[in-house]
Symmetry: C2
Subunit: 457 residues, 2 copies
């Protein structure tokens, strides 16, 4: 096992990736790499946004003793048991969600990569080919049975077995429909127009904008900024283009969020994503009710840290769109439970993919979801940058759809030159935290506490 800490200076790309809360991110990742005696290499990725990747790498390192020296066949026989052994380790579980759960996800996903590679199949094919019994045995139902239990999931899957082949055939032919996140906070509007018109010309029909820098700017100025961004997207695309909005938790509580979004209702956004705290399940339910008359949906999940949170967001009526992330929870196993609960609750899965390598991780989960449960209402997020030159197998999007890949596993192999240049701390082009903090603090209307991010005079 080897763990890489890679930091790409996204801030030098005109604030690509920035939003109202993450003012100047540097797309980064901690990468567990597992090598077997038989010459296979499995890998996964935990996405981070710059500083702190060293903590994530240390957490993955702490799991070394449960992995090195063991047989892959043992994992393949009972992947659920292994995932539970890590997530529920009697001492490590005290560290709870966030860093620790993401480390579990990284290691679990690297083992899934080895499994797929040992069979020479891409991850979407391995996942979509799991039997109902395998899927059920992957999941820890301990805290979930009030919403979904083993028997009900088995029944749900058996009832849909007939559709699965047909759906999969369609998906391999047409791909998975995507939307683009091009409207980053503070990104020059000319750049937004250029990217959106290019993607529209090539078939993309939905575009997301970051909104709601009200906490920093004040409400009126923030609304003005948001309208200019949404206008720029609308003007550079066509009348059939759908608009999506995302506030990255910056709209306060559900009441202030509902009031704010009512001001943007004329744009008819499909949804507002992460309006409030990602784990405020009671607030999500109230927000959804408040926005329903305006026709605005409520999306969330990219930072929801575990299946218990998703269980409540879904069964509590807080979501119209369920945004799983490929590197936030405990890996494939926990994601299978979340996708299953979303299907049970009738909420379409629209994976989060705004980060380096996240498309590779969530694409296969989208295929799993859409093979079993159909494609209605589903959109997969897609970023146009950090693919070519980074990954050996970059995502391919044609006519607004992500095309299913043929490379075995997740397809997370990186160009050697990329790793060399951006490896922390010695890579010559590695991102720098002080630079990013300086750019964050220099933004107009930055909150007063940013001064603590700057080096002491």
């Amino acid at each position: 096992m080897e763990v890489l800490d890679l930091r790409y200076p996204t801030v030098r790309m005109g604030l690509a990736g920035s939003d109202p809360r993450h003012l100047a991110p540097n797309y980064s990742c901690a990468v567990p790499v597992l090598r077997t005696d038989s010459g296979l290499e499995g890998r996964a990725l935990v996405f981070t946004i710059g500083d702190g990747t060293q903590i994530q790498a240390a957490a993955i390192e702490a799991l070394r003793r449960f992995v090195v020296g063991r047989g892959l066949a043992d994992f393949i026989a009972q992947p659920g048991l292994f995932a539970q052994a890590l997530a529920e380790h009697h001492q490590l579980r005290w560290l709870a969600l966030g860093v620790y759960r993401m480390a579990v996800g990284g290691v679990v996903n690297a083992l899934w990569d080895l499994w797929a590679k040992s069979e020479g199949v891409p991850m979407w094919r391995l996942l979509a080919g799991l039997t109902p019994a395998q899927i059920v045995s992957c999941i820890d139902f301990h805290h979930l049975r009030d919403v979904l239990d083993e028997a009900e999931l088995t029944e749900m899957l058996r009832a849909r077995a007939g559709q699965r082949e047909e759906n999969l055939e369609r998906l391999t032919r047409t791909g998975v429909r995507v939307y683009s996140t091009a409207g980053w906070s503070g990104r020059p509007l000319d750049e937004v127009r250029r990217v959106c018109s290019g993607l529209y010309a090539k078939g993309t029909r939905a575009f997301k904008a970051k909104v709601g820098r009200g906490q920093q700017y004040g409400r009126a100025r923030a609304l003005d900024e948001d309208r200019r961004m949404l206008d720029a997207i609308r003007d550079s695309t066509g009348p059939d283009a759908l608009l999506l909005t995302d506030a990255n938790q910056n709209l306060g509580d559900w009441r202030t969020a509902a009031a704010y979004m009512s001001e943007l209702a004329a744009y008819k956004p499909l949804f507002i994503e992460e309006a409030i705290a990602y784990n405020d399940v009671l607030g999500y339910a109230k927000l959804r009710q408040a926005l329903a008359p305006l026709g605005i949906g409520v999306a969330g999940g990219e930072q929801a840290p575990d299946a218990v949170t998703f269980k409540q967001l879904l069964a509590g009526g807080g979501l119209t769109h369920c945004q799983i992330d490929g590197a936030r929870v405990g890996g494939v196993n926990e994601l299978l439970s979340i996708v299953a609960m979303a299907a049970k609750c009738g909420v379409p899965v629209c994976p989060h993919s705004g980060g380096i390598g996240l498309g590779q991780l969530v694409g296969p989960m989208a295929v799993f979801d859409q093979a079993w449960f159909g494609s209605e209402g589903r959109w997969l997020e897609y970023l146009e940058f950090l693919q070519a030159g980074v990954f050996v197998h970059p995502l391919e999007v044609h006519d607004g759809h992500w095309m299913l890949p043929s490379a075995p596993g997740w397809g997370l192999e990186m160009e050697p030159g990329f790793v060399e240049r951006y490896r922390y701390p010695d890579g010559p082009e590695c991102a720098d935290s002080d630079e990013a903090d300086g750019m964050a603090a220099a933004q107009p209307g930055a909150p007063p506490y940013v001064r603590y991010w700057l080096p002491e005079r």
Copy 2:
């Protein structure tokens, strides 16, 4: 700034600290130590239970650049701004709750320690002496205003200003009422009887038992074990002794938890603590409703990772007793918001203190709470071990009450010999993860996944 990683082999004390989920813990901590040019030393502590303390220490290390070289006066002038700068750092916040939030809490609390020491007062006095304006300015209300906002908290505090002095005078005289956690899972019943009868003789009147190893043992055997434990406590104390129960999240979902506790209703426990997942706010609300007719309360919070979770547990009706922990959330600042929301919702605060040094950290918060809001329904958890020989200022309990200390700050100074013996990895008596994993796996009825915790043959 220095960060210590200390690991005490609690498992060698007859499984003190063990519960249905944390089978063989070794009480441990990551300790940030801050030293000023003027010779003050501030410290706090992030409690862990063995393996993974190195991750916690790495997270605290990552905050060094925001602390070293800065002036204490700047923190004292605006502690809320500093706490928010760390919790909401535009890159680090991606790491979210758990490890990262606890690291923020450790550093913030070490600065509060410096503040108290710079004034030469114990922490309870500093906290209980804060003005309403200071308290309000400590809190980040961004996600909390649907339950409590600045104006309402100010009004709540002003209305109680008269009681505060009177309450504080009473608390300094009589201390804070405690309960004992003596009924650890797997602890020999003779030892439980010995500890409980000793504490009862010295005035303690409430005793907590770990219950619910059903997931491991099966329901019937677990209930039998629980009844023997509760009988042992009842028999070794008196008829006026109150029983409390704690399942450490092991009772499944709210339905299975309610059914299980109905079998123990004859013992009239004051509450069942952590019956289900610590962040299942919808489940907590349903469990509380289900158990109300039986007269069993619902407690939780020791692993609730942030104020947003507490907001929902409190306002959502899920708690009869609010168990704050001194090292789980973002330090004093976030705890002030939680205590205030508990008061608003009429839920008594009964701090969690089952760990090394946690009593030192939550005692002052209990004084803050009871000075402003009275002592009705409040109990402070107390462990009889790991005080003398560990801390220079061990907790003092007389007649079932924790006596307010006079040492400045938190009183977390440790005996030098303790640090030397238990410092990881080189301390000669430092806890060993393999030993603990072996003891966990050897427990009767241990779940099948424990085999991954054992070294590969």
